[in-house]
Symmetry: C2
Subunit: 149 residues, 2 copies
DNA sequence: CGATACCCTATCGAATTAGTAGTGATTTAA
DNA sequence: TTAAATCACTACTAATTCGATAGGGTATCG
């Protein structure tokens, strides 16, 4: 499961992307109430995204947030890594935060690792290719409702 | 990330699968020391797997554990669901433990959900197709070392 | 100058994780 | 028949993470 925080981050970015063509810079309060997100919590999240160069902000009256990069250059994978950390299901499979499994004898021959490497590859394929703009466009997705347990 | 517990469970099952052709029923202590797993922790894990019909046990001297189903019928997905719960990255995408996202207005049009549905589908494809026997056989895997963040 | 909004740090309760500990029940072999 | 080995079960616990909440500080605009 991804964290609630990551879900909020993604939804906030979608909201910003949607507001972008109108030239508006929505405030935290607006996004929060529109998306059903606790305001102070969202404040932290957007601040974090700002520190990571995803969004920009304007202070004072008529302030707000805007995307710093075009929506079609912000991937789900990028955001997930900022907010939740590694995407890989094993520490020894993470590029951004590689860590040896301290209980694992030989990484090369680890049977479990081989399987999760495939999963990591598949997930990364999707998450690093799909942008905020894509998700807004919607469209070509399989009409699948409940898929995986 | 999967839990340490799930990793232990999978490694223990691989060990049992490997011992199977020899007719042996390894003890918790043997698996634990062989796989570098805390013994009492592994005891709990195997007990749990037993309750879920994955392994069987024999008590007393010369006791131990064995697989209850053939290794090529035990999938990674099945074990992960038992030990870690849902595989899907969103509660609203889980088959085994569906839960509405309480902050989400409309599930059908949720942009975030659409993307994670693809991930769930892809992950499930791999995890529900790959068995303990497959991982033991190794072989056809891509020779990828560090793949995803 | 004062209202509005972002900026930043600290704190907190609940849940989860990764074990440890201790006792009980069963089987085998001497 | 009894000792030793082994699984069975329950309870506890220390540390961390999660999902916030609180409360100021700081810039900007009118």
């Amino acid at each position: 499961m991804i964290s609630q925080k990551a879900k909020y981050a993604l939804r906030a970015l979608v909201a910003l992307a949607r507001a972008e063509p109108t030239g508006q810079t929505p405030t935290v309060g607006e996004i929060a109430s529109g998306q059903n997100i606790p305001k102070k919590f969202l404040e932290q999240i957007l601040l974090d995204l700002k520190h990571h160069g995803i969004v920009a902000s304007k202070r004072g009256k008529a302030g707000g947030y805007m995307l710093l990069k075009p929506a079609n250059r912000i991937t789900f994978g990028e955001i997930l890594r900022i907010v939740d950390g590694p995407i890989a299901l094993l520490p020894c499979l993470s590029v951004v935060a590689y860590r040896r499994c301290d209980d694992c004898q030989d990484e090369q021959s680890c049977e479990v690792r081989h399987v999760f490497a495939k999963v990591a590859l598949a997930s990364r394929d999707i998450l690093d290719q799909t942008t905020i703009a894509d998700s807004l466009a919607g469209g070509d997705d399989n009409p699948v409702l409940r898929i995986a347990g």
